[in-house]
């Protein structure tokens, strides 16, 4: 069974094989529905586009007060800070302000230019408390999709389903006893597919600019170098293979920005970087 829904601003596919186990098609539909609901919850909590999302609340209030947040948002922020530290600041979802300026994200705050903080200013405290030392514009676009994929996979794996796949617009995770062939689009001709390897029980995510509208005079690149706060343009495709999709997703930004496929943070998270 393979289904697809529009979520997280892209098309999300969920595929599940029941093999020889005893599960009715109705039960399978229900499990897949629950997986899609988990992705929808991530979208509702962590979407920058929604002025009422929990993320928007953090961006508006976290520098003024301590906020109690959903454990999933807390988990994503915790891992974001972990990768921020391991990448020596090359991964930073505090770049939302630049993407707002570039017109790639909506401006909810209507605030004039100010000194925005980054992930380093964010303070997390168990259980599920967050505040910030400076005003922030966190965009979880570079990490939440991977987290959503992981949550959907966890639900599938908690049942008797033997193997499956969740693919959120190119960020995907597979599980089961069979290794699966992974293809990446050629950045010079996205219609060409490049076989990069066989993956079993793992995740892969990719970043490239071939879907961006190159006819616009302003940069459409969603990747911002946190050191310079400039959007970066590139012609390559960057992929990262990792045990969990949240790491694969976030680490593609480190690879895209540093262009260094042997950056120590890949080994730290048992990840492999691939440049095409």
């Amino acid at each position: 069974m393979i289904r697809c829904k529009p979520l997280l601003g892209t098309y999300v596919e969920i595929s599940a094989e029941i093999g020889s186990i005893n599960m009715t098609s109705f039960e399978l539909d229900e499990v897949i529905n629950t997986s899609f609901s988990a992705i929808k919850l991530v979208q509702d909590l962590m979407g920058f586009h929604h002025p009422d999302s929990e993320l928007s609340k953090i961006n508006t209030l976290a520098h003024k007060e301590v906020l109690e947040i959903h454990p999933w948002t807390f988990e994503v922020l915790r891992i974001a800070k972990e990768i921020h530290k391991a990448s020596l600041g090359m991964f930073d979802c505090g770049v939302g302000s630049r993407l707002v300026e570039a017109g790639l994200l909506p401006n909810h705050q209507r605030a004039s230019t100010q000194a925005w903080g980054g992930l380093a200013d964010l303070i997390l405290e168990e259980p599920n408390l967050v505040n910030s030392m400076r005003p922030i514009q966190i965009d979880l676009g570079g990490i939440a999709k991977g987290f959503a994929v992981d949550k959907a996979v966890e639900i599938l794996k908690s049942t008797a389903i033997q193997s499956g796949l969740v693919n959120a617009g190119g960020d995907m995770r597979v599980f089961g006893t069979q290794a699966q062939e992974i293809q990446v689009r050629s950045p010079s001709n996205p219609n060409d597919l490049i076989f990069i390897g066989l993956l079993q029980d793992g995740a892969v995510a990719s970043t490239s600019l071939y879907y961006c509208d190159a006819t616009k005079s302003r940069s459409r690149s969603p990747i911002v170098n946190p050191m310079t706060m400039e959007q970066i343009e590139f012609t390559e495709s960057y992929s990262v293979v990792a045990p969990k999709c949240i790491y694969a997703d976030a680490l593609t930004k480190v690879l895209t920005i540093t262009k260094n496929s042997t950056h120590p943070c890949f080994a730290e998270f048992s990840a492999h970087a691939i440049r095409i």
Partner: protein, 180 residues
């Protein structure tokens, strides 16, 4: 996790592309399956809608979707729910999808039924699209379906969002029960 990288690509250090695909396609679910997934226990009857030029113009201006709506893919349940199948055509993709509208006029759910992709302008051309219409999962002609796991840049679902907007405008103007 077990990861076995493609040795050819790694050793050569160059990209080995597979043969160019004319179009990559995925067929997810049929009309019947989509109907059962969105409304598990409801009976639907085909209910073609007639759209005046004025309604079509309003649907166009509210959604910026320009290709004509095929009004013979609309179904109605006795409680006033609707099940509608439509297509959207983007720069990179053509998508057939189903949307369920509840009896109170809200989007119940959306399921993607079919996805055909190509690059460049072809996908927007009527001639190019016609060759796929009516194709099923059994038709392999020019549809490459066996490649499942493609990682890549994220494709926006904006065109689909516009398509659903157009259907909801149509619901408001033509399908919704008239206020007494």
């Amino acid at each position: 996790m077990q990861w076995n990288p493609n040795p050819i690509r790694i050793l050569a250090g160059i990209t080995i592309a597979s043969a160019p695909l004319y179009a990559h396609a995925k067929i997810y679910i049929s009309v019947d399956q989509a109907q059962k997934l969105i409304f598990p226990n409801k009976q639907f009857t085909k209910y073609p809608v007639v759209l005046t030029k004025d309604i079509q113009d309003k649907m166009h201006s509210a959604s910026s979707v320009s290709h004509p709506f095929k009004s013979d893919r609309t179904w109605k349940a006795s409680d006033g729910s609707w099940f509608i199948v439509d297509e959207v055509v983007g720069k990179h993709e053509m998508i057939t999808y189903a949307v369920g509208i509840s009896s109170i006029g809200t989007v119940q759910s959306i399921e993607i039924m079919e996805y055909v992709e190509s690059y460049g302008y072809e996908v927007a051309e009527e001639v190019w699209r016609k060759q796929f219409i009516g194709k099923s999962a059994d038709d392999a002609i020019k549809l490459k379906k066996d490649i499942q796991n493609i990682s890549g840049a994220t494709l926006s679902c904006k065109h689909l969002t516009d398509g659903v907007k157009r259907i909801m405008v149509m619901y408001d103007l033509a399908l919704k029960p008239k206020a007494k």
